[in-house]
Symmetry: C2
Subunit: 258 residues, 2 copies
DNA sequence: AACACGTTTCGGCATCATCGAACACCTCCC
DNA sequence: GGGAGGTGTTCGATGATGCCGAAACGTGTT
């Protein structure tokens, strides 16, 4: 692990959290001397990853935008999910999201609008703490290592009044998810939104993401047909990616299977 | 400028060009030893900026996606352009794009669909060589330093048969653009697409981007009313950003005005 | 089973990033 | 108008750190 590269990424993530930062603020947040971070941001500015506004504050630059487009276009999971998610949205009448884990969050990499044609925000790129979304719980249930890491650095943030932040409670939820392959959440990240999600596996039978629907909490909290549709979609995508079983019999405890 | 950070960005840009690369390919493209780039990509992988697929190849990771969303939301120019571009699309009946310069390219940071409701691709994040698009020429005309840098490293890529790659010819075009503040292009980046664009200035009277419409080449190549609308939009956005004049009387030759 | 390819690890050397302090700059306040 | 505080930026010496060669590991191939 290279120190300066790691710090450069830390700078970007810091700018991601607080959109505009003075050099001094940035330095103090990272607990580094002024001149050290200056060297880093100067490099990033030269490359267009960061830009400096008129008042001298720093923000993310257009370079990151170019990168994200390529990521979306080249992402295998997203490519395979395109048709299946479209069909799921059509059949369920709900918005569909595909997410992948990143650190403690789920990043939405694909989003199909609810078919009713109403005005909706495009949610690609947003990130939600994994424990507060069905997508995240679906992933965590089949990635014990990640779940342990997440629980170890508690306390978990409470997004709404109904976000579950108790690790024992969450562990029990994950156990149930392992049994039927379906994760749910209601009002846990955004009030009024309920979710049903299922994990997606790759050719290694490793969970790499999840697919799920979003619907108003009032509408249909728990309907068997919806979860069946979601599960079927997750199975189809996993199969396209080369997964052999769904869910895989031996949930890989550690990536040390030989 | 920090070497390893610069190299890390170079890795990301290389992965942007070729979506999937083996470590060896990556190393040879950067003319660096294998182990050196391995250290860099390992750091980027740990941070989620790069991910490694099953076959060991590297690609961009979900981390870049999170970053881009924040960039779009926090971009001052984009924020100010939102309402004006909406209106421009409505009045002109064309798709509208806002772009900012990055190295030799223009990156599209905002895109309003043509109001006819047809299926269109979202173009946010794509980048086009500056000399092949009206957005780019509008910027280059009022940023002589950038234009010189661009011309210095010719040859310019020829995107279509009608892309202008002759620097003298381009310089003459920029001169005309400086006069009336309107840049045009027809079939120069994509066959069948014509553009009309105008530059946007900030509170320093420095050009920071451009706004323009896209229309079928066959439709209306050069109509005075369209360019007036485009110009008016650029003026409005520039004014919101604090620009004092449009275009500024003294095109800043160098950023050394005191 | 042996090979060939590519990825990953390891350790010594020299480079390179680091950090403190001084400089230039602006804004705000007196 | 002039000073004081807070910025961002530059510079140079120090030694920690990233760089690179070569060797080991893992994987798919012949």
């Amino acid at each position: 692990m290279i120190q300066s590269v790691d710090r450069a990424v830390a700078v970007l993530l810091e700018l991601q959290g607080a959109r505009r930062l003075r050099l001094t603020e940035l330095a103090s947040r990272l607990s580094l001397p002024n001149s050290t971070v200056h060297g880093i941001v100067a490099t990033l500015v030269a490359r267009g990853m960061v830009e400096q506004d008129l008042s001298g504050r720093y923000a993310l630059g257009p370079g990151v935008l170019r990168l994200s487009n390529v990521y979306l276009d080249s992402n295998e999971l997203r490519l395979r999910a395109l048709t299946w998610t479209e069909a799921l949205a059509e059949r369920s009448g709900c918005a569909v999201r595909v997410g992948v884990p990143l650190e403690r969050d789920i990043v939405v990499i694909h989003h199909v609008f609810r078919p009713d044609g109403s005005h909706q925000m495009r949610e690609i790129g947003i990130d939600i703490p994994a424990h507060g979304t069905a997508l995240g719980k679906a992933v965590l249930a089949f990635d014990p290592t990640r779940a342990q890491r997440l629980f170890a650095v508690a306390p978990l943030p409470k997004l709404t009044g109904r976000t579950c932040v108790d690790t024992d409670d969450l562990a029990a939820q994950l156990e149930r998810i392992r049994e039927d392959g379906i994760a749910t959440a209601s009002d846990e990240a955004i009030l009024g939104e309920a979710e049903v999600a299922a994990p997606i596996f790759d050719a290694n039978d490793t969970v790499i993401g999840a697919v799920g629907v979003v619907l108003p909490t009032s509408d249909a909290p728990t309907d068997r047909t919806v979860s069946d549709e979601v599960r079927r979609t997750a199975v189809s995508i996993s199969r396209e990616l080369g997964a052999t079983a769904w869910p895989p019999r031996s949930t890989q405890r550690e990536p040390t299977e030989t």
